[in-house]
């Protein structure tokens, strides 16, 4: 589904991603792990169009999306969760979720003439999602009125509701309490059962090893190991990357 070919990104003299190659198969959950500064978030920024690669290609469903803008990447079917909160603080939880459903709301005249009503189908989709994340009670709260964990849940819901073929999740459980972590874990397991294709960055190894089918390990911007969670656990190279020689 996604092929990364010889991807390189430099920031001045710093080589954040060095000739990186990997691919992601459909209906799998792949984890991207590595020590801090190994290039995980840069790769996410490159895949989602926030950054443009210096060289190399990102092929999604046979289309070269290397130089696509974030909105075009979303429209080809890649939905992204950011590491830091990107909620619309002055919109309600319900409005945050409605925004992710389609792009009909960007059509000025259609909206002015009332031809883009929030119909029952859209309301039901949002309502079902709010029920599944147990946030119905907070539907009318503004984004800025939510706690860190609640924001995280709404953002995950928004990422899932955004029409997609492929999800990329940047540290979905970072900084959340154990109860919420279990809830997010359940949501992701549910997505796995539904056959979603997911690329996930996370520092919590127990969380990752429980969830992922495949693990890619990055160090200094390059792939140093790849395999099943069991294989990665045993890898000497991975231990060295995390603990040093």
């Amino acid at each position: 589904m996604l092929k990364i070919k010889n991807l390189t990104k430099n920031f001045g003299g710093v080589k954040a991603v060095k000739s990186c190659d990997f691919d992601i198969k459909e209906n799998t959950i792949t984890a991207l792990i590595g020590p801090n500064g190994s290039g995980k978030s840069t790769i996410f920024n490159l895949i989602s169009g926030v950054l443009v690669p210096d060289s190399g290609k990102i092929i999604f469903d046979g289309v070269d999306i290397s130089c696509f803008s974030p909105e075009n990447i979303s429209n080809v079917g890649i939905s992204r969760l950011f590491q830091k909160s990107q909620l619309f603080d002055n919109l309600t939880v319900r409005e945050n979720l409605l925004l992710s459903l389609d792009n009909e709301d960007t059509k000025f005249w259609k909206n002015i003439f009332g031809r883009n009503k929030i119909n029952k189908k859209k309301e039901d989709l949002v309502s079902e999602m709010l029920t599944s994340i147990e946030m119905n009670y907070f539907a009318s709260r503004l984004g800025r009125e939510l706690s860190f964990g609640q924001k995280r849940l709404v953002e995950i819901a928004r990422t899932i509701l955004n029409p997609h073929k492929f999800l990329i999740l940047d540290e979905p459980v970072a900084g959340v309490n154990p109860k919420l972590r279990r809830k997010i874990s359940d949501i992701l397991i549910d997505l796995k059962k539904k056959g979603e294709t997911i690329l996930i960055v996370e520092h919590d190894m127990n969380f990752i090893f429980k969830l992922a089918d495949d693990v890619i390990v990055l160090d200094e911007g390059a792939v140093i190991a790849r395999g099943s969670p069991e294989k990665i656990k045993e890898s000497k190279k991975v231990l060295e990357a995390y603990l040093g020689n």
């Binding site: 939905s79 950011f82 619309f88 002055n90 925004l99 792009n103 960007t106 000025f108």
Partner: protein, 289 residues
């Protein structure tokens, strides 16, 4: 006395159109648009020049909005990637360019001599030459503008504008083309400022570049910020208060040469107090960043 009050209400109407349209771009879309006076100026000159060349008022009025809107589109292209202070500076520069052009393109605008004798509006034989008739015209336009902006902000498109204001990157990652969204907002805002300019030109019947200098943005900005960002109700209340507030000075016996500068001082003091103690303004939804 009656004529004086009608004059004040006409001014409130014109300022309301200007302030509500600026609220759309600053408060609802987060565009630090300090170029609003330039669109107001373009509208005033287009409408004045058209009617002075015997083009009917209705055509001139609509053209004023359309041409100001086109300049809004033109400005949105190079400034698309600019945000906050940088966008504010670029739009200030745009105001300055329009001001300098109106001052120096003497063959078209008569430069500092200005354009006198702008005719009072007439629509299908109905003359708006008396102040009471002009008040009715301004009131109708202001009410239509209010409901038009209300329609925009209450629609899903309005929520996209607010999402762009709150977090542009997150809006783009949801698949929305924020360049198009911001351009539409700026074009509408400029269109409405253009028709406000047209009304002003046909009310005062004389315009010159000094009516549209950079300083003229200050009272409009005060109306938007004091009323509160992303609040039409706040904008309306602040506009009425700020237009009326300096007026008692005239009755105390101050001359017009003092009332003008005093007005600026009063606005500046109120703005300072609001920014220090009520950064969201009176009815604002979001804080000015």
């Amino acid at each position: 006395m009656e004529a004086y009050f009608i004059h004040l209400i006409i001014l409130i109407g014109i300022y309301l159109i200007l302030a509500m349209s600026l609220q759309l771009s600053i408060g609802y879309t987060g565009l630090m648009n300090f170029g609003h006076i330039a669109f107001y100026s373009i509208g005033a000159y287009v409408s004045a020049l058209f009617t002075l060349n015997d083009i009917p008022f209705v055509v001139a009025f609509i053209s004023a909005g359309i041409i100001a809107g086109l300049f809004g589109l033109l400005l949105s292209i190079p400034t698309n990637k600019l945000k906050g202070d940088y966008l504010a500076l670029a739009t200030i520069a745009f105001t300055f360019v329009v001001y300098v052009v109106s001052l120096n393109w003497v063959s078209l605008t008569r430069g500092p001599l200005g354009l006198p004798g702008i005719p009072k509006p007439s629509i299908l034989g109905l003359s708006f030459s008396s102040n009471i008739m002009f008040l009715i015209l301004v009131a109708i336009v202001a009410i239509v503008v209010y409901f038009f902006i209300r329609r925009i902000i209450d629609s899903p498109f309005g929520k996209v504008l607010e999402a762009t204001r709150d977090n542009e990157l997150a809006t783009r990652v949801l698949g929305k083309n924020t360049f198009k969204i911001k351009s539409v907002s700026l074009v509408i805002s400029a269109f409405l400022a253009g028709i406000a300019g047209s009304l002003y030109a046909h009310y005062i019947t004389y315009i010159d570049p000094s009516s549209f200098s950079m300083m003229q943005i200050a009272p409009i900005l005060c109306m938007v910020i004091i009323g509160g960002l992303a609040s039409l109700k706040g904008t309306i209340i602040a506009t009425i208060i700020l237009v009326l507030l300096p007026e008692p000075l005239r009755f105390i016996g101050f001359s017009s040469s003092i009332v003008g500068p005093m007005r600026q001082i009063i606005y500046a003091l109120i703005l300072l107090v609001i920014l220090l103690y009520k950064p969201k303004g009176f009815f604002g939804k979001v804080e000015l960043e």
